[in-house]
């Protein structure tokens, strides 16, 4: 089994792809740059999601959901933002197909052209701040501490499963505050949550830092990040937390009446981590034999196997141990059935 994994010393990139394939975490997609996340890969992502979601909720955040499509005009309202994302946007231009009158199969119906094109969200600041305009009037409406779990699309040319894909899953937090200080506190709070999650759950050490102006998020005044190091000596940006200042509030005209009864633009943050973390997890711990997972994120923590084959009393002992482990919230898988027993229990033979 292990021989089918290319050693790291020989070809690190291929080693990574071999691990993903052998551990049945992801599959290729007919659409270049996209991936199918298989059950085992998704189970790891679910564990990450659950842990992070709990940490967000403990700190007062709530979940909501905003639309996948963003009117094209929204994107250009914040100048730096559109410049950063324009080159990788997927655009919806039509809403209907029809049969080709010349018999060429299905074609886009030219009659069904959208008046305004829609962008498939690369990130949701614009649509969310357009919405916040209706939600925020006074300092009593603040802070807004909202997160969403969603998919986004960035048309990447060079992709790699989990680490960089055109469509990926993530969470994006978007908060609104009454003061610059409070928004900066939120930015730092999330940075600390990300670092704690990476180190305590992923067992992946990270360095907390600030991005240079050149590497900053398009539309942010300051971008904080956690950076980790992979086994081939290359760094991985594992999460970012942005202090957005009043940039999006100004672009979408979101003002509030402060305690002094003055109109003021709202202060903002946004922050996200994605399925890229699964790639970082694989690259941080795995070896030439295959995937290595930290117990806190392993969908199965303990497997019990018979050596060399099941015998009377073995099943009972194994099940007793499994039950005791489960009572301690340890996830256990039993692979105790013989081949014949398994065959007679399989749905195909019934």
């Amino acid at each position: 089994m292990a021989k089918e994994i290319t050693p790291r010393s020989e070809d690190y990139s291929q080693w990574y792809l071999d691990i993903v394939r052998k551990a049945r975490m992801a599959d290729t997609s007919p659409v270049r740059g996209c991936m199918v996340i298989k059950p085992h890969g998704f189970a790891i992502w679910e564990k990450m999601r659950d842990a992070l979601d709990a940490m967000f909720k403990e700190t007062g955040h709530v979940n909501a959901y905003f639309p996948l499509f963003i009117p094209k005009s929204f994107l250009s309202k914040e100048a730096a933002h559109v410049e950063g994302f324009a080159k990788e946007c997927a655009v919806v231009t039509h809403y209907r197909l029809k049969n080709d009158p010349n018999g060429g199969g299905v074609i886009v119906d030219p009659e069904a052209k959208l008046e305004e094109e829609l962008i498939v969200r690369p990130t949701s600041e614009t649509i969310i701040w357009d919405t916040y305009k209706n939600w925020i009037q006074s300092y009593r409406d603040l802070p807004l501490l909202i997160n969403q779990w969603a998919n986004v699309v960035r048309w990447e040319m060079r992709t790699r499963p989990f680490l960089r894909t055109a469509e990926f899953l993530w969470q994006e937090g978007h908060t609104a505050h009454a003061s610059s200080e409070e928004a900066m506190q939120e930015t730092r709070l999330i940075l600390d949550i990300y670092a704690r999650f990476a180190e305590e759950y992923m067992a992946m050490p990270v360095i907390k830092g600030i991005k240079t102006e050149n590497e900053r998020f398009a539309g942010a005044d300051e971008t904080f990040c956690i950076e980790s190091l992979m086994q081939d000596g290359r760094a991985l940006q594992a999460g970012t937390s942005h202090f957005l200042g009043q940039n999006f509030a100004k672009a979408f005209d979101v003002q509030f009446l402060n305690k002094e009864n003055q109109l003021e633009h709202v202060w903002a943050t946004s922050w996200g981590v994605s399925t890229r973390l699964v790639g970082g997890l694989i690259m941080t711990h795995s070896d030439d034999e295959g995937l290595v997972l930290p117990p806190k994120l392993a969908p199965v923590q303990v497997v019990i196997v018979p050596i060399p084959k099941p015998a009377p009393g073995l099943m009972e002992t194994a099940e007793k141990i499994a039950a005791q482990l489960r009572a301690r919230s340890i996830s256990v898988k039993l692979t105790m059935m013989s081949k014949t027993a398994r065959a007679s229990n399989s749905p195909n033979t019934k």
């Binding site: 067992a203 290359r234 295959g290 930290p294 117990p295 050596i307 015998a311 301690r328």
Partner: protein, 138 residues
């Protein structure tokens, strides 16, 4: 293969001897453990594995943060060792991009816990107040 941290191997001979084989994935070590203490043992082992993976990754990461005080050193570390290079930078986008152009390394971050330290930019020799971390990145 799918990364299960602990495997328990149970055979008739083990049961007769009142023990069970415990194998950990991270170090690939195997031990025989008495059946009546195996649950405690496994619960502790999972914590140990979690800690070991972190410590192992941290030791690797820490061993791959290398200071560079000259351009020659910078290039040499990047070519031979890789990892993070801790170096002074003059604070301009121009220099940052020039370094990226020459080496493909980018400034990963200005560490928030980094100490203030006067120095000279590794490329231009202009004054700097804090080291930043460079690396080739995914």
């Amino acid at each position: 293969m799918i990364g299960v941290p602990v495997r328990l191997g149970l055979g008739q001979r083990d049961i007769d001897a009142g023990q069970i084989e415990v194998a950990r994935r991270d170090t690939r070590e195997k031990n025989n453990v008495p059946l009546d203490t195996v649950v405690d043992h496994v619960a502790q082992l999972l914590d140990d594995i979690q800690a070991n993976l972190f410590n192992r990754a941290k030791a690797f990461r820490d061993a791959h943060i290398t200071p560079a005080d000259s351009w020659e050193e910078f290039e040499q570390i990047l070519e031979t060792k890789g990892g993070f290079i801790s170096a002074h930078w003059d604070g301009t986008t121009e220099t940052e991009l020039a370094i990226k152009e020459r080496t493909k390394a980018t400034i990963r971050c200005i560490p928030v816990d980094g100490p203030a330290e006067a120095g000279k930019c590794v490329l231009t020799g202009k004054p700097s107040t804090q080291r930043v971390l460079f690396a080739k990145a995914y």
